[in-house]
Symmetry: C2
Subunit: 305 residues, 2 copies
DNA sequence: CAATATGTTTATTATTATTAAAGACAGACC
DNA sequence: GGTCTGTCTTTAATAATAATAAACATATTG
């Protein structure tokens, strides 16, 4: 008789199985630690421990009487409990959802069916609702007047505005970076990045696919000099959108990547000069190229409006 | 016998009352329009119309038989239905919540009790959850590992990073603005803004309170030249935080506001020169002052860490 | 009697179940 | 053929519920 469970009892199941492990390490007849000790050890509340102990008693694994908890027998395979299917959290959902939108070319204007999607992504419906609510801050989805959600991005306009915004943020990072003292650790990191770029350039004909992760790393390093939670939050979305598209835009991929590498190298060079204007100019050149690539990748996938 | 209602039947109640109005305008014995026509007219689904018609029939207001809907009598006061209490939507919640945090000086680290707060703000619990989820994008709240939410901002660090971010965005706007052609409508708007500033300066001794809305308007106009959804989204938060604090920081308010007006005027002047560097410098000077004011207003309210 | 244990109660959240509403489809009617 | 109604399916908003955490009270032990 399985009753519907409002909240999943994952914590109970895990704690129970963990307690079995603990019991198996003791001799039959031994005393178990106090409830407080157990709850601290397993990192769950005393309530969970007490439920688990009660069940251990019911299954005659321990003899529970007040504060006496005497081990009566070791566990066997059947004593183990099976938990409910694990649902994904909101963090994993983010990349899976954006990946779905971009990979499947879900057109702007699509009505997002929460009931259906929650099954597809194996998350609770309300997790999706909360997720959409947070995505709406980036204008990727909007709430419909009387319930439901509509996918807005990624249109051409969205790409343009995202690119522009990225340019504003990254120009700022570059200017900051150029002003850092020579003994700052960033310079060593740039040296090693430069080497990685040069290495890849030598084997670009066959390894041009390796550029995407390097690009991500490069921009992450540049932006790391600005410690700002808003910049960081946006970087996540920017990174996802750009790299997803670059990954699937196969036209002239080798040339594009080679050009980008040379732009990266030019930017590193400009940064070393520690001339903010020169560095910013180099950054803007590269970001403009990036923007064009993003736009062309949207156009080949045709539904951009 | 009132049964619990999962979803509120506000739409039904409103449609029903609206139908009563409609009936009262007809003569007894007249035919009502088709269900489709009624649903189009009232802007609700046919399902709602049908429920309402059925009830009208039950109350002997109409005689419903297939597509015949004959009016039998006019309505009286008792026929009117009373809807369930109206809950606020997520849009109204935003300013109310931020206002509560800032006005009550809710300290960073406070655990946000969804059950309690949903009563206080008269919204559904899940509305609050979705709202917090969207706020988490701005780092104002964070989700706790196993459920619940914690208020993070507004710490001193938050203020610093928000100010810096604002400076980045607004410097960009200012550079854009300085590059606009002379026949662009923005110049006329700046002229009128300048006049408003000059006017206020004359009566600053008694009307220094009028500066806050003018400040908001000023920055909104400056930023309006950049058409970018991300910039717009942030402007909302920035505007709320800054203006709320300025409103409550009473130390040297007259001097602060007078200084700010002069900085605004200097910025307008610099913009008119259409020299991007000069304009940006003026903007940064003003934003730096603004940042200091925000920080000092946090310090006087003491719990900033 | 102080410290620590368990027993009991309360509060809060995550998730399910339920209802209102929207929309689709098919047959009836003019 | 077009419009109308009857029926059914799908979806999202909300209330109800089980799991958990945490607070409080009482008992036990050294």
């Amino acid at each position: 008789m399985i009753r519907p469970m409002a909240r999943t009892n994952t914590r109970f199941v895990e704690a129970y199985n963990e307690l079995l492990n603990l019991c198996d390490q003791l001799e039959v007849g031994a005393y178990l630690p106090s409830e407080n000790a157990l709850s601290a050890q397993l990192g769950v509340s005393r309530t969970v421990i007490r439920s688990a102990l009660t069940r251990l008693d019911d299954c005659s694994i321990i003899a529970l009487d007040g504060r006496e908890k005497i081990l009566r027998r070791h566990s066997n395979v059947e004593d183990r409990l099976e938990g409910p299917p694990v649902l994904l959290g909101i963090e994993e959902l983010e990349s899976r959802f954006l990946d779905w939108v971009l990979r499947m070319d879900v057109p702007p204007g699509t009505v997002l069916n929460v009931a259906q999607l929650s099954k597809d992504f194996s998350v609770a419906t309300h997790t999706l609702q909360e997720f959409f609510s947070s995505l709406s801050r980036f204008g990727i989805v909007v709430r419909r007047p009387r319930g439901g959600w509509v996918l807005l991005g990624f249109t051409k306009n969205y790409a343009v505005e995202l690119s522009d915004f990225r340019t504003v943020l990254e120009s700022n990072s570059v200017r900051h970076l150029a002003a850092l003292p020579l003994d700052h650790e960033i310079w060593a990191r740039l040296d090693s990045l430069e080497q990685e770029h040069l290495d890849l350039l030598l084997r670009i004909d066959k390894d041009f696919h390796d550029f995407s992760p390097l690009d991500e790393k490069f921009h992450a390093v540049i932006n790391s000099v600005v410690v700002n939670r808003f910049v960081k939050e946006f970087q996540k979305i920017i990174s996802l959108v750009f790299h997803y598209h670059f990954q699937w835009n196969k036209t002239h991929e080798r040339e594009r990547n080679e050009d980008a590498i040379r732009e990266h190298l030019a930017l590193i060079e400009a940064l070393r000069s520690r001339d903010a204007d020169k560095a910013e100019a180099a950054a803007r050149r590269h970001l403009a190229t990036s923007k064009q690539t993003l736009l062309s990748s949207l156009e080949t996938n045709s539904h951009a409006t």
